[in-house]
């Protein structure tokens, strides 16, 4: 299906459209025929346990992985047919620590600035802008090896927004961070959304984070989207007056947030947590 690029409905409302996206690995279905949309400037969460397929979905949307079937459009670009254009309009913060500890904060940002083709005259200005926005200016020349988990996360977000992408993808942005650092990160993310009109798509397995920070949630379990909507909507559907998000989760998936995932998922989750400390 070929959509004209300036199809106005897509430009004004939905910035991410996913149709029947599926990913199979050797007979194992990681993502099973999911479809959803995300509106511009929305803060959208993918909630689910490890192994639910959240990371695989994000990897397909950011063009790192090719889907087995299905299609998705980001800012009207197709992941199957226009991956290069998509890479210009998205920013990505991976779950695992992705900064180079042997370089300084400034150098880490400079690397990304160059890889994103930011013109050389602009680079220094943008880097300093980003450092200021994330309150990291004093650490500009410090080796990242010495940073705390929260600072690393902020730097990674900085690297992802240098080129001012309309959509920012974050995979488990605050896992392993203490509540203060978590608050701090979200303060910056909301500021980003409000000042630069950035759409924020993130995955998490923390109930509180999903509940407090986002506009809409998709609950994901074993490769399927079990439910999608705003937090009040989801709670309402459980038809229980004092339902929490956790109750809603159990209601829709019949499962507990703790279980799930194979050894690799658990290893990855633990590695992320360990590095943060």
């Amino acid at each position: 299906m070929i959509l004209p690029r300036d199809f106005s409905i897509y430009m004004t409302t939905d910035i991410i459209t996913v149709n029947n996206l599926t990913k199979k690995f050797n007979g194992f279905t990681a993502v099973n025929n999911i479809s959803f949309t995300v509106k511009k400037k929305e803060v959208f969460a993918f909630l689910g346990p490890n192994g639910a397929g959240k990371t695989t979905t994000i990897q397909m949307l950011i063009t790192l992985l090719k889907p087995t079937r299905g299609e998705a459009f980001i800012d009207s670009f197709s992941i199957n047919h226009n991956p290069e254009e998509i890479r210009h309009v998205i920013g990505y913060v991976p779950q695992m620590v992705s900064v180079d500890g042997t370089l300084t904060a400034y150098e880490n940002l400079m690397l990304m600035a160059k890889l994103y083709d930011i013109p050389s005259k602009e680079r220094d200005k943008r880097i300093n802008e980003v450092l200021e926005f994330l309150e990291l200016e004093e650490l500009s020349k410090a080796l990242v090896r010495k940073f705390s988990g929260g600072m690393i996360r902020k730097l990674e977000i900085g690297q992802a927004i240098l080129h001012r992408p309309p959509v920012l993808f974050l995979d488990e942005p605050t896992s392993g961070l203490d509540p203060v650092a978590r608050r701090h990160i979200w303060k910056h993310l909301f500021e980003l959304r409000d000042t630069s009109e950035t759409t924020i798509f993130f995955t998490t397995h923390y109930m509180e984070e999903a509940e407090e920070e986002c506009d809409r949630i998709a609950i994901m379990h074993s490769g399927n989207i079990a439910a999608i909507g705003t937090v009040p909507e989801l709670k309402q559907k459980t038809k229980s007056p004092h339902a929490t998000l956790e109750d809603a989760f159990i209601f829709f998936t019949g499962a507990n947030l703790q279980e799930g995932g194979n050894l690799r998922d658990v290893k990855r989750a633990r590695a992320t947590e360990r590095r943060r400390h």
Binding site: L64, Y92, Q95, V97, S98, D100, T102, L103, L111
Partner: protein, 244 residues
């Protein structure tokens, strides 16, 4: 990308020193020992002169092959994912890595030359030959780092890579004209040596540094250029496979 590597080395040069040990051992111990034996015909040059280009090639190759491992480290670190999500084409990322491998190789060259000077091994060190040496080292390092990136994309884990890396490096070295001329090899080994890019590197370096006989040089360089070029395309194609 190459710039990043240089900065990294500047921040922490200890790695350069640890890597220097091997060629020093080869030249100093093996080279000295075998030169007394005089069992290997080296056409009027001393054995040490003969093997210096070979040792240099070996250390550059060794570094380049284990440099490919870095893309697995990066995968473990999420950095690889970030790199692949930028608009920068995969081929550019690969070339960047090849150039960095080349730069590391060049530092080895400096160390080997210093050591050769200490051992009083006579080499032709002029501006033209140095230019040639730089070119050959960059191409050779490029080829072998590309090769190891391909291997890394296939095996995906550090442990498996280490095993394969070891299995490849030493046979490549012995099945080449690095420490003995092709003429003394049995025919089957000669065949292997002729399709081994390492031999072309050694031949080129030897021509520049020792014999001054540059008749084969353009041929050697072209071969290295072509294989490195081809392998960079394959490497770029395989790069994203490391992610999963």
């Amino acid at each position: 990308m190459a710039e990043v590597e240089v900065r990294k080395l500047l921040h922490d040069p200890t790695e350069l020193i640890t890597r220097a040990v091997q060629p020093i051992l080869w030249l100093g111990i093996f080279g000295e020992a075998l030169s007394k034996v005089k069992a290997i015909p080296t056409n009027g040059y001393t054995y040490l002169q003969f093997i210096t280009p070979g040792i240099l090639t070996q250390s550059v190759t060794f570094i380049a092959i284990f440099y490919g491992l870095s893309i697995i480290w990066e995968r473990d670190m999420g950095i690889l994912q970030k790199l692949l999500v930028t608009p920068t084409p995969r081929l550019a990322l690969v070339w960047g890595k090849m150039i960095s491998a080349g730069i590391r190789g060049l530092t080895q060259a400096v160390i080997v030359f210093i050591f050769a000077f200490i051992l009083q091994i006579h080499l032709i060190l002029t501006l033209p030959t140095m230019t040639g040496v730089v070119l050959i080292i960059m191409l050779g390092a490029g080829f072998f780092s590309g090769l190891s990136m391909i291997i890394a994309s296939i095996v995906k884990t550090r442990e498996r890579f280490m095993g394969i890396g070891q299995v490849i490096t030493l046979p490549l070295f012995f099945a080449s004209n690095a420490i003995y001329p092709i003429t003394i090899m049995p025919p089957w080994l000669q065949f292997v040596a002729r399709i081994n890019p390492l031999s072309y590197m050694v031949e080129g370096l030897r021509a520049l540094l020792v014999t001054g006989n540059t008749s084969q040089l353009p041929f050697d360089v072209i071969i290295l250029l072509v294989v490195t070029f081809i392998i960079s395309f394959i490497s770029a194609y395989m790069y994203p496979k490391v992610v999963v």
